[in-house]
């Protein structure tokens, strides 16, 4: 079981490394969107500090979304997906591997760059830790839920826009607890409660979403 998951992860990571432009452009999208906000709302540090968690999180949602349409589309186009679907192990495991790989190339870099962007918003040290942790813990859930949307819209016209329509409403709890963790830390309430709820959402998504996505893929392959 672990063998197949690691096989999928290592293949997808190898592919991503050969196409670094994709990772880098999603990361730059994140950086640019976050940097645009101060220009739009003014440079007052108090205001920026207040808005930072929400801005960083919304930008993270959009940046993760950017790479979702290709999650299965490439494998679908060249016939690899069919081979994965008829391999002698459950398709849900394959999708789990793909979700983890997607997080490694799309969620993880966001968490690493987040503290740097937080500095732009004049966040305190513990707020920087909180935003990094919350993005680190929360983004796997985004990859998991996103996989369902990517699988449902596989091969459809205008799939990219449709994914956002399907997936963004389902992202709301992650957004609330993710940004809430930073807020709670800043106001001195402690972000642990939010972070554990975020972790619960992530575990539930990683455990459950790949199987729903696998069912959607089978429907798409019929």
């Amino acid at each position: 079981m672990l063998k197949i998951i690691t096989a999928v992860i290592s293949r997808d990571l190898k592919l991503a490394m050969r196409r670094q432009a994709d990772i880098v452009s999603a990361l730059f999208f994140f950086i640019i969107v976050v940097s645009l906000f101060p220009l739009g709302i003014g440079p007052e540090p108090d205001l920026l500090r207040k808005l930072a968690p929400g801005v960083l999180w919304v930008a993270a949602l959009l940046a993760t979304m950017l790479s979702l349409p290709r999650l299965f589309a490439d494998d679908h186009r060249d016939g690899t997906l069919e081979q994965l679907a008829i391999a002698p192990h459950p398709l849900g495991l394959v999708v789990t591997g793909k979700v983890i790989a997607h997080w490694l190339v799309s969620g993880l870099p966001l968490a690493l760059i987040a503290p740097v962007l937080g500095v732009q918003f004049d966040l305190s040290a513990e707020a920087l830790v909180a935003i990094t942790l919350s993005i680190l813990i929360g983004t796997p859930a985004l990859s998991g839920i996103g996989a369902i949307g990517a699988a449902l819209t596989l091969g459809l016209r205008g799939g990219g826009v449709l994914i956002s329509l399907l997936v963004l409403p389902l992202y709301i709890p992650v957004l609330i607890f993710g940004a809430g963790a930073v807020d709670a830390t800043v106001t001195g309430l402690g972000g642990e409660g939010h972070l554990s709820l975020l972790a619960a959402l992530t575990f539930a998504s990683i455990g459950f979403a790949p199987w729903a996505a696998a069912a959607a893929l089978k429907i798409a392959l019929e």
Partner: protein, 252 residues
């Protein structure tokens, strides 16, 4: 023994189509009766609310619309589960026939909520847990309709839409609780609907209006499902026979 009641028979479009056609006028009539009774009780008889004055009368459509918007989503999810489990043709058609009415109910709930909120709370919109969840519900309806519309193959549209409905129905409580939690945390608006004990006439008015909305929704869904059936089953003999004798625009 040949006349044994067979439930599967009613699940087949060929038998359900004429049955639905025959039932529509009854549902419309019952809906109108309930509507007149509810409006009479709610708009003419019910007394003024001591806190909200006459403005509370929006409740007679706001609450039924909100109920229906949630209820219809649950019914669609129920049909989706049946369709995915037993691979029945009718379930997907029913879910698709219900969706537009559900979305309109969610819209009405938001619209009347805004018109109610303005005089009572002084604002068209508050980020209250209930309003926010209703908005998200509307997004879920739109997502479902966009997905089924984007898929050309009817079978795939049913299955993919059904899966989305099930994912949505699992997520609705999570979304609701997270929004509620977020709302109490921010302590934004301390909005509370008047918890005053309702006058009996108000309660009855509301229930009658809810029945009216319910019957209306059923009539609309049946009307739409008949069209979907003709479209989907256009190569079967019963649809060809049906098409041969109906004159478009003329049939009841």
């Amino acid at each position: 023994m040949t006349d044994r009641l067979n439930l599967y028979r009613f699940a087949s479009p060929a038998t359900f189509y004429p049955l639905a056609g025959a039932m529509i006028p009854y549902f419309v009539a019952v809906s109108v009766v309930f509507g007149i009774a509810g409006l009479w009780l709610g708009m003419l008889v019910a007394p003024t609310d001591f806190q909200q004055g006459e403005g509370y009368r929006i409740i007679f459509i706001h609450v039924p619309a909100s109920w229906m918007s949630m209820f219809i989503y649950l019914i669609m999810a129920f049909w989706a589960a049946i369709g995915l489990a037993f691979n029945t043709r009718l379930s997907g058609m029913m879910a698709q026939a219900l969706a537009p009415t559900g979305a309109l109910m969610a819209f009405l709930s938001l619209w009347t909520g805004a018109l109610w909120g303005k005089p009572m709370w002084g604002t068209w919109w508050v980020w209250d847990a209930r309003l926010t969840s209703e908005l998200i519900l509307l997004f879920l309806y739109i997502g479902y309709m966009a997905l089924t519309a984007a898929i050309d193959d009817a079978r795939r549209a049913d299955k993919a839409g059904g899966l989305l409905l099930l994912v949505g129905v699992v997520n609705i409580p999570i979304i609701y609780f997270s929004v509620q939690w977020w709302n109490t945390l921010h302590q934004g608006s301390s909005v509370n609907l008047a918890k005053s004990s309702m006058a009996t006439t108000m309660l009855w008015g509301m229930l009658l209006m809810a029945m009216c909305f319910w019957m209306y929704s059923i009539a609309m869904a049946l009307m739409r499902v008949r069209t979907i059936m003709l479209e989907r089953e256009r190569h079967t003999d019963w649809v060809k026979a049906e098409l041969a004798h109906i004159v478009a625009g003329d049939e009841k």
